[in-house]
Symmetry: C2
Subunit: 411 residues, 2 copies
């Protein structure tokens, strides 16, 4: 451990999270597995990230700050980091010692690769019957595509998200964020807790294996679209910012060029909108009194709303609509998010300590637990920062052995 | 309970989920809260959905099948359903009796409304100190916007998702799915389990309150964008289907008009792509050998890839790329999802029993737990289907009282 890393450990923000005492080994790489592991760490679990000695790929994934990518700095946060060469027999041995103590193992190799490393779930659960193993893959552990290379992009493309995303006269459009990995990050953390809950309530105290595919994690977001197709033949096409389920919903342009998003997801919002426009009579006309009628006349209705909004500045429109109880919002860039007073008051963005650069801002832990909130204790640490702690202090290597394994490339 | 509903209960698919024995009261409405509650029910918890006597708004939320919306049929699945008028003193009393037995309460009223119903978290936790309460709002329980009406659209608009979503020359674009609610659905289920875990490990066995805002749940998906702005001033603009972090990534058009999504999220994929194109030399040229260089020459590079793909049919291109280990995917509509052989093999879509229409298809429970998998036991039930079970059999009302409360509008 470098002196700076040591300082960081000494000054760390106290851990008051609900998952204190839980021990997680995270050997997964970009991005769903590390995201699930980060959530457990955010809420207080001890998470040891096991990297190859050459470093996790996310350390080099773009947007470097002082040579280390922001991806690592975020998804490595609140974790302790060690390096292990799992193909070296001493590295493999140390991995088994970590897993022996673990409640949870997270991995994201293609099906069969973990087994090829002599770390099959069967063997690991013989070593540690309480172990919960989250296995993250693009396609799942079985089925015709299970051997395929995969990234979240495929899940986004094949889930119908991309087919529906974009303007009616434009091409299908991928999202700008790693959507499938994000969904899987949240879902994997839940599934781990569900399996742990069962273990605690089960007299045999047994763990189990969780088979999570990125595709299936994202597809959980398409609930109503499945029966709508099966029973009604509904296939939603790209509709820009309009909704397939209700109307009006769209993004309009204000006088000053700012954008305003309005959504009438509940029927009672519609008359409020018309009143705010100074046109309460619209809700009484046949054209606009029901959702079916508004769908039929949506071009005309969107024209009326655009005419009204085009006469006022963005912030004025949003203030009026907000006052009337109509959900309305500006379109924010990340810069705008930083500046917003509500987000400042809620501490949406917070600085995490960083051993080499002082601190770095990231999205705060969410949601908030009243008694045992999570915390940003530190950002992703330097490569091997916790090797000495884990291999010498915890697993009992001598200083000589530690130096030898380092030299041999086992750690 | 109707005779048909009774039949359903008698023939239900057995519950082998990890959360058996957990008791959840779900008084939340569209869509994040009901989604979290559905996940707990999918994995075996007993979830009692408490609706207003006139019915949950999701029953009428569009795409009706035999008069009941698919939204209700999906998000009501695996739950037992009762009606209660919380403004009637007998309805309120029955609610307290349910909450007294509960591990979890889920609500999504605006801040202060639960308190106005005389159901403040403080009072409920006095009644039941182990109670975990998930409070879902658009903006959180405090801060300058906490009183505002809100839907997920605002979170999507203000998170920077919409700002980055769309073509470079097109408008910002809302997603076609209820993205913020979906993210919050997954996150809320995790947070509940984390709070329950703490309760079990804590000698005082105390529950706590979870303050979850839709905005913050979605903003967790923007991890690396926050420090990229803080440290590097990066503000990502709309780039169509290209990535801001690596290249190439895009959607290309095949000879037969089909779309192909390709993502080189890992560097080793790039030479594989060039080899499959029959142009291995590209990776050796200065123009395309590094991610920085490829970004600089992205229009030209995308042109080369498009030229190649435009000479072949979609399925041929995908087969070639897949064989070479390049992640590639077609753009699927929901109809295509139903037809795909891998998804069929994995039982991605499954029929859930429905008392009035036999069965209805929906996304299967995910992920898969090896020993205690979740199951689709039934789809959203008829209004008040479980009133008799809960109010007479469980809470001890006489048949006469039950009839009387029904008549009085308390249930």
């Amino acid at each position: 451990m470098t002196q700076k890393a040591q300082q960081l450990v000494n000054t760390e923000i106290s851990n008051n999270g609900p998952l204190q005492g839980l021990f997680v080994v995270d050997m997964s790489t970009m991005m769903a597995g590390p995201f699930s592991a980060m959530m457990l760490a955010d809420f207080g679990a001890t998470v040891v990230k096991v990297e190859e000695p050459k470093g996790d790929p996310s350390r080099k994934s773009g947007w470097p700050v002082n040579g280390t990518s922001v991806w690592w700095r975020v998804f490595g946060r609140n974790k302790e980091t060690v390096t292990l060469n799992l193909k070296h027999h001493r590295g493999h041995e140390l991995m088994l010692k970590l897993i022996e103590r673990a409640d949870v193992l997270i991995e994201n190799m293609r099906p069969g690769k973990l087994e090829a490393l002599d770390l099959s779930p069967e063997a690991l659960q013989k070593l540690n019957p309480g172990l919960v193993i989250l296995r993250v893959t693009g396609w799942g552990q079985d089925g015709p595509y299970s051997d395929r290379a995969s990234f979240g992009t495929q899940a986004e493309a094949m889930s119908s998200f991309v087919y529906m995303n974009g303007q009616p006269d434009g091409p299908p459009t991928l999202p700008a964020i790693t959507l499938a990995d994000n969904a899987a990050g949240y879902l994997g953390a839940f599934a781990i807790m569900a399996a742990l809950w069962h273990r605690e309530k089960n007299p045999a105290h047994k763990g189990q294996v969780i088979d999570m595919s990125l595709f299936e994690a994202l597809f959980g977001f398409f609930g109503p679209f499945v029966p709508a197709y099966e029973k009604l033949g509904v296939v939603i096409k790209r509709k820009g910012s309009r909704s397939a389920a209700f109307a009006p919903k769209n993004i309009y342009t204000a006088k000053d060029g700012g954008f305003v998003a309005i959504s009438c997801a509940a029927e009672q919002v519609v008359p409020r909108l018309f009143e705010t426009m100074g046109r309460p009579e619209l809700y009484k006309t046949e054209k606009y009194s029901t959702v079916q009628a508004r769908f039929k006349n949506i071009d005309e209705l969107d024209g009326l709303i655009q005419d009204w909004i085009g006469q006022h500045d963005r912030d004025d429109i949003i203030a009026r609509l907000t006052k009337s109880g109509v959900p309305a919002a500006p379109i924010y860039s990340i810069e705008d998010v930083f500046a917003d007073p509500h987000f400042k008051a809620r501490e949406l963005i917070k600085s995490a300590p960083a051993d080499d650069i002082g601190s770095i801002a990231m999205a705060n832990v969410a949601p908030r637990l009243s008694d045992t909130p999570g915390a940003l204790r530190w950002s992703g640490r330097a490569l091997g920062a916790d090797n000495h702690k884990w291999f010498v202090d915890e697993l009992g290597l001598s200083e000589a052995e530690f130096a030898e394994l380092k030299k041999a490339g086992a750690i």
